[in-house]
């Protein structure tokens, strides 16, 4: 039996699925419903200083759909909590008391002044919350006021605020990172240098989801005008995975705990974040799309998969794929693959042919003996995987490794030894 119990910075939760700081964790009623549904923990919707911020009264959200209106990407211009601090704190205290076995982390965003942090931290501590998350990620509205991503984009600020927080509280401090930055390793290093206990990422990505071409205004718009918002949901997962992996394998932040966020929708997404080094995951958009009940799929799916694979505890997965994430320069250049089209599975749509013909290496036939027929020409195939990527039939095209003989494309004999770019003769900097 796989054990889903999770411990992150000493914070225990019955499973590694937390709700990210956002509307699902905005108030007692939501969080109580979430815990009833089975969520392991929450990061409460970001608290700020009183008086609370004011949200627009026009629409806050925009969406990108698949053809069947499945929500693929989600965008928002919501600010941090717009309710008085005192009410939030009272509710947090109550919920933590009612649900002692669930993780209760409180997200914070106050101005970049030590006094402001020094003032709010004890108030949070008093609620009995398990930890704080510093929201250095919100990319809209708050950043214009010098908070959120305006802090997260400057590693020095990140370090400074993290240090203040560690000074003024005994609670674990998680720094939530913005993806709106060139190299996410810098703020992560800064968080560690400032003494933070962990990072969580990603917050939302600067975005305009679409443009209303009648009104000539970005969506969503309020009174005819729109602004950029924060993008999240399934669409951002690949970027989030990369950022998590970058931090996990950066020697400067190795072993630094990570909470993975960004597009987690099914158990598999969660397993992927964990394999790349996240100790737990946080979810927002999937809950906002389908409701809290999805946690049943998440927990059962992760558990079943762990049992199938023989993993006993969640920690057994964490970082399991990291040894296989490397730099391009270390990839084996002697590894040669050719595409293979399974003629029994092929439905003869011709997409592989045309993409290879028009945009790749002219390595797939279109006919044979006067009949429509798609077959790989080994002498041209560079093994790029484009045909696999566009083929509508799963497993119809596969990449097969050549283990012996001569690569008909290059005329070079297959070399079973490993060799990478660092030693390649074409590399001007090649080591001798």
């Amino acid at each position: 039996m796989a054990d889903l119990r999770s411990e992150f910075l000493g914070i225990k939760s019955p499973n590694p699925f937390w709700l990210a700081s956002a509307p699902p964790t905005d108030r007692e009623i939501n969080v109580t419903r979430a815990f009833k549904a089975g969520w392991g923990g929450v990061v409460w919707k970001t608290l700020g200083e009183d008086p609370p911020v004011v949200n627009v009264n026009g629409p806050r959200y925009g969406a990108v759909y698949s053809a069947d209106r499945r929500l693929m990407g989600f965008n928002n211009i919501e600010l941090i909590s717009d309710r008085p601090l005192e009410i939030n704190l009272r509710e947090i205290k109550q919920v933590k008391r009612d649900w002692p076995d669930r993780a209760m982390v409180v997200s914070l965003m106050v101005p970049c002044e030590e006094a402001a942090w020094k003032k709010i931290l004890p108030l949070v501590e008093e609620t009995g919350a398990d930890g704080v998350e510093l929201n250095f990620g919100c990319p809209h509205g708050m950043s214009e006021r010098g908070m959120g991503s305006a802090v997260g984009q400057v590693p020095e600020y990140v370090e400074m605020v993290a240090r203040w927080c560690k000074q003024h509280t005994r609670m674990p401090v998680i720094v939530k990172l913005t993806p709106n930055i060139t190299d996410v390793r810098h703020p992560a290093r800064a968080a560690r240098a400032g003494g933070a206990d962990a990072v969580s990422l990603i917050n939302t990505v600067n975005s305009i989801v679409s443009v209303d071409l009648d009104l000539m205004a970005p969506n969503p718009h309020t009174d005819g005008k729109g602004t950029h918002g924060g993008y999240c949901g399934p669409a951002v997962k690949p970027m989030a995975l990369n950022m998590v992996a970058e931090i996990a394998r950066d020697p400067a932040t190795q072993g630094f705990p990570i909470s993975g966020i960004g597009g987690v929708t099914t158990w598999r997404d969660a397993a992927e974040f964990m394999a790349l080094g996240a100790s737990n995951v946080q979810v927002c958009t999937a809950a906002m799309t389908y409701g809290f009940k999805i946690v049943e799929e998440l927990t059962d799916g992760l558990k079943s998969w762990m049992e199938d694979k023989g993993y006993q505890r969640v920690d057994d997965i964490v970082g399991a794929a990291i040894p296989n994430v490397t730099d391009w320069q270390f990839l084996n250049l002697n590894y040669v693959v050719k595409a293979r089209i399974d003629q029994d599975l092929c439905i003869k749509c011709g997409r592989c042919h045309i993409v290879c013909e028009d945009t790749s290496h002219q390595a797939i036939t279109a006919e044979k003996d006067g009949h429509r027929h798609f077959e790989v020409i080994d002498a041209e195939c560079v093994g790029c995987n484009l045909c696999v990527s566009v083929c509508p039939v799963e497993n119809c095209i596969t990449m097969e490794r050549m283990t012996e003989g001569v690569d008909p494309r290059t005329g070079t004999p297959i070399d079973p030894a490993y060799a990478n770019w660092t030693t390649h003769p074409n590399n001007p900097q090649a080591a001798e």
């Binding site: 069947d68 499945r70 099914t266 158990w267 598999r268 389908y290 409701g291 009940k293 999805i294 049943e296 799929e297 059962d300 799916g301 079943s304 998969w305 039939v393 799963e394």
Partner: protein, 455 residues
């Protein structure tokens, strides 16, 4: 025409009407299983509705949106656990439920585009996957020391037995036939349960342990209810309907006049379909699922002309519209307003049947007119309903309340005897579906368990 059998029958009745290949094709899956890709595409169509109407429409309340989401998240075995935890016959129900009048009728996609999510086929995909994997998701409960007798090894009885075993009670199943499964094994149309699905499911169900099965033992013949009540802490009655309604016509005993349910049982048990005698011209009397099933299967066995004659209009037929369509696409004719008048014979064999036209009378009742029509027939199937035979209850019958000829039970499936529960086709007020029998068995088991816990 090949006719090796020595049985006396009309010239129109023959065996081996088709090639081996035809039999295989005609009795393989009516709806072939979904491939993984098809299941992914179909599961993507589910909206994961709030308080989903499909769940409400399912008599066993399977959490349909959850299991479909599990399929789409590539967790078919998890999906199967979701299904089986509510309905241990989830594999059979995936095949034989009239989903068009249950879950799929309730799907909100009907409102959007007239095309529900194919819940039944997705359910089959999940349950097939689990059974093929050999995994056993259930565990027998710690022995409670309580013993329960279950009479009847059909879906009602076995669902009850399984749930009781999960609660740790020791169950003995008494089944009159040689094989367990009830109508899953002897009644459901062959093309709905191709490939030994019924037997496989029963084996899977029993594998959890805690259930002793005694086949060939009939209540009323080999044991009495009084004995069972004395020997066990509780009894569940799930004997289904052992009797059949009669036409009340002269000639009913001729070899060409057959009981549809018996014939289907013979078909389901046949090792070799080509040995089964089939009429050339077949007339089926009735308007329910059994009528459709015997008609379609006769056609698929090679009968030339098959006509279902129902005494009322189309809207009164118990068979769903989908099933009526199925019959018609199989080349079965459906005639309405035909009331059997007399069976016609020639040389001592059935040669046809004469009907009177019926019509709706003033008070909505069936009125038989003087006009008539005649159909030629070598075989006439009676599919006019089955009945409960109370005599098997012996002297206990006196203390048991009946309603409309079947056992009366309350919401928890308790009969009027304190230690006797009942469910499935043998109880009054049900819908005579596999899924309803399963729900009865499950509810009764929970009630029995609660009664034990309170005592």
């Amino acid at each position: 025409m090949a006719d090796g059998s020595a049985r006396s029958r009309a010239a129109g009745i023959a065996t081996a009407r088709l090639s081996e290949e035809d039999y295989r094709r005609n009795f393989s899956d009516l709806h072939p299983p979904l491939s993984k890709h098809e299941a992914q595409v179909e599961s993507d169509r589910c909206y994961f509705c709030y308080d989903a109407p499909c769940v409400t429409a399912c008599p066993t309340s399977i959490d349909i949106p959850l299991f479909i989401r599990q399929i789409s998240a590539d967790n078919a075995n998890g999906a199967a656990r979701t299904i089986l935890s509510q309905n241990i016959f989830g594999g059979m129900c995936a095949r034989d439920c009239p989903t068009e009048t249950l879950c799929e009728e309730a799907c909100v996609r009907n409102l959007a585009e007239d095309k529900p999510v194919e819940i039944g086929r997705l359910q089959r995909y999940a349950t097939d996957s689990l059974l093929a994997s050999g995994a056993q998701p259930f565990e027998r409960g710690a022995p409670s020391g309580k013993r329960v007798a279950v009479v009847g090894g059909g879906p009602a009885g076995l669902a009850c037995a399984h749930r009781l075993a999960l609660h740790g009670h020791a169950v003995t199943v008494f089944e009159a036939r040689e094989k367990l499964g009830g109508l899953n094994e002897y009644g459901i149309a062959a093309y709905k349960v191709a490939g030994g699905a019924a037997e496989r499911e029963v084996d899977f169900l029993l594998a959890v342990g805690g259930m002793e099965t005694r086949t060939g033992v009939a209540l009323g013949r080999d044991v009495t209810l009084a004995q069972l009540r004395a020997d066990f802490d509780a009894v569940f009655l799930g004997m289904g309907l052992a009797g059949v309604n009669a036409l009340g016509q002269e000639g009913e005993d001729l070899p060409g006049v057959l009981d549809a349910v018996d014939y289907i049982a013979e078909l389901r048990q046949a090792q070799n379909l080509s040995e089964l005698p089939v009429g050339r011209r077949v007339v089926v009397i009735g308007g329910g699922m059994t009528a459709i099933d015997v008609a379609v299967q006769s056609k698929r066995l090679g009968a030339e002309d098959v006509t279902i004659v129902y005494r009322r209009g189309q809207d009164a037929m118990k068979a769903s519209e989908y099933e009526q369509d199925l019959a018609q696409t199989n080349g079965v004719k459906i005639k309405h307003w035909g009331v059997p008048r007399r069976i016609l014979t020639q040389d001592g064999n059935v040669s046809g049947i004469e009907f009177r036209y019926g019509q709706t009378g003033v008070d909505g009742r069936l009125e038989v007119t003087e006009e008539s029509f005649t159909l030629d027939a070598d075989v006439i199937f009676k599919a006019i309903g089955q009945t409960f035979i109370p005599a098997v209850l012996g002297e206990s019958l006196e203390a048991l309340d009946l309603s409309g000829g079947r056992l009366r039970v309350d919401e928890e499936r308790r009969t009027s005897l304190p230690d006797v529960w009942a469910g499935g086709d043998c109880v009054a007020g049900g819908s005579d579906l596999t899924v309803a029998a399963v729900e009865d068995g499950k509810q009764a088991a929970e009630s029995i368990h609660a009664a034990f816990s309170n005592s």
